[in-house]
Amino acid sequence: MRHLDDGQIAELIDSADRRTGGPADRGIESHLSDCAACRERVEEARQIAARARSILATAVPVAPAGTVVPPFDEILHRAGQGRRGGKGGGSLRWLAWAATLVVAGGLGWYARGELRVTSPRAAPVAVSQPAAEADAIQPKDDERRANLRDTAAARNEQVARGAGGAVAPAGRLAEPAAPRLEAGAQREGLASRDRPAEEAKTAAAAAAPPAPSAPAPLPVARRAADSGAAARELRLRQAPVTEAEQTPLTLGATGQRADVLDRRIVTTREEAERVMGGRLVSLDGLPIDTYYVLPAEPGVIQTEQRLPRGGTLELEQWRANTPRSQVQQRGGLFFQQPMADSATVAAESLQIDGLKIVGRAPISADSLRVLLRRLRR
């Protein structure tokens, strides 16, 4: 057998010290009986081990008399204190973190001036833009109503004349001077899109024809090739003008719109739902100004709901199974025109119970999402 290595020797002396029975290999003992060198190494290792233990024994703590082993109750008491302290400290830490997060979130929300909904029914809304900015986007309500009242009166008169037998060719229901004036006003309105808002408002007001003396027919039917659309348009025009039509038509919350003449006012919600073929969704608590339908896209309804601090929430909605045009597939029918103030207008699309909805409002995207989550049929 080979000579023993240090590990075997160490185990030999340590197992002997502990009286736990020696190494399993009895060959070690027989080797030691024959090998004087290994016996010498074992003896040396035993002396080193004894010396090491004595060295370590000199380095024992100097404990004050009577306190060598404190009562175990002290451990239990200390453990209880630790648990109480730990739990309390943990709770306080969590509370501190929660408070910090709440304060930080509140400050962030406030700093961003986000829209905040506090009541599910009344829907008081805080608009992100300052009031002055909102006013710059759209004309004053009174001014808008005055303009549109004139326009509606002129259109009633035109419809009456058309019903009397003088039906103009499709696409040109009224001729020539007054429409030119109206078209001029529209062009003026479009051209002013890039001007400052005040300038645009002035231009629109100046271009509006005086209702009693010069009734202005509404220029209509840009899509004259669509005879079906023209027929629907005519039916809608022959409907009696109601208070709903006195509401803003040509100027919405988002400023001048090029597509405004392509849509028609629907008198009632029931009528709008009949046109769309299902129940409309709207935001509870906000008055609905107008229901619009686009003759070229039957089944698509747009509603306008006034926001408490100015501006309008526009909702375009149609049944998901409604055949959709290319325009619709791009995400919205009425909203294709770029807005002059697009930086302040958000648009979101969603689907509720088989109804596809596109919403737009002069508020932040986050605020709009909050509003749209509250939509109900």
């Binding site: 290595d5 240090d6 590990g7 075997q8 020797i9 160490a10 185990e11 340590d14 502990r18 736990t20 290792a45 080193i48 081990a49 010396r51 090491a52 233990r53 060295i55 370590l56 000199t58 380095a59 024992v60 703590p61 100097v62 404990a63 004050p64 008399a65 306190t67 060598v68 082993v69 404190p70 175990f72 002290e74 451990i75 239990l76 200390r78 453990a79 630790g82």
Partner: protein, 166 residues
């Protein structure tokens, strides 16, 4: 059967304080850490309670050593204050000197050798030392043999140098 920590405490406390003392070299601190070990152990029910408390003790002592580096100045101030039941000044000085030599001798060892040596001195068998340190069972004897020899040699060197200095 749940661990009878009171019994483990009575049987292990002195060994644990000694084990910790050779790591922190502060009696009060070693006792405090030993109690802290049992405070932490109460929530556990290990298979080998003795090995478990020494494992916790080793971890605590390691944390303590790191903290001591930061608090060295403060600890020195505390150590300078005489305890009410402390030994007489001349005895205390002699004890401190002995401990200082052992401490410096132990510092000559590698961390693993020192750990194996202290566990062996605390009464651990080879299997427990292997489990505690992560060494292979067959490497414990070799490591321990080397650690003991280095301690003896380092201690002799320290004593010889101190004697030469006078």
């Amino acid at each position: 059967m749940p661990t009878d920590w009171a019994e483990v405490y009575r049987a292990t406390y002195a060994d644990l304080v000694r084990f910790l003392y050779r790591k922190v070299w502060e009696t009060d601190r070693a006792q405090d850490l030993a109690q802290e070990v049992f405070v932490r152990a109460l929530d556990h029910d290990p298979d080998n309670p003795r090995a478990f408390v020494f494992t916790v003790a080793a971890n605590l002592a390691r944390d303590e050593a790191r903290a001591a580096v930061r608090q060295r100045r403060h600890l020195l101030l505390i150590r300078g204050e005489p305890a009410p039941s402390a030994p007489a000044p001349d005895q205390e000085l002699e004890v401190k000197e002995r401990h200082r030599v052992v401490q410096r001798a132990l510092e000559q060892l590698t961390d693993r050798d020192r750990e194996v040596l202290l566990l062996w001195d605390a009464g651990f068998d080879y299997d427990e030392i292997a489990a505690q340190t992560g060494l292979a069972r067959g490497a414990v004897g070799t490591t321990l043999s080397r650690a003991r020899r280095r301690l003896v040699e380092a201690h002799a060197a320290m004593e010889g140098r101190d004697a030469a200095l006078g």
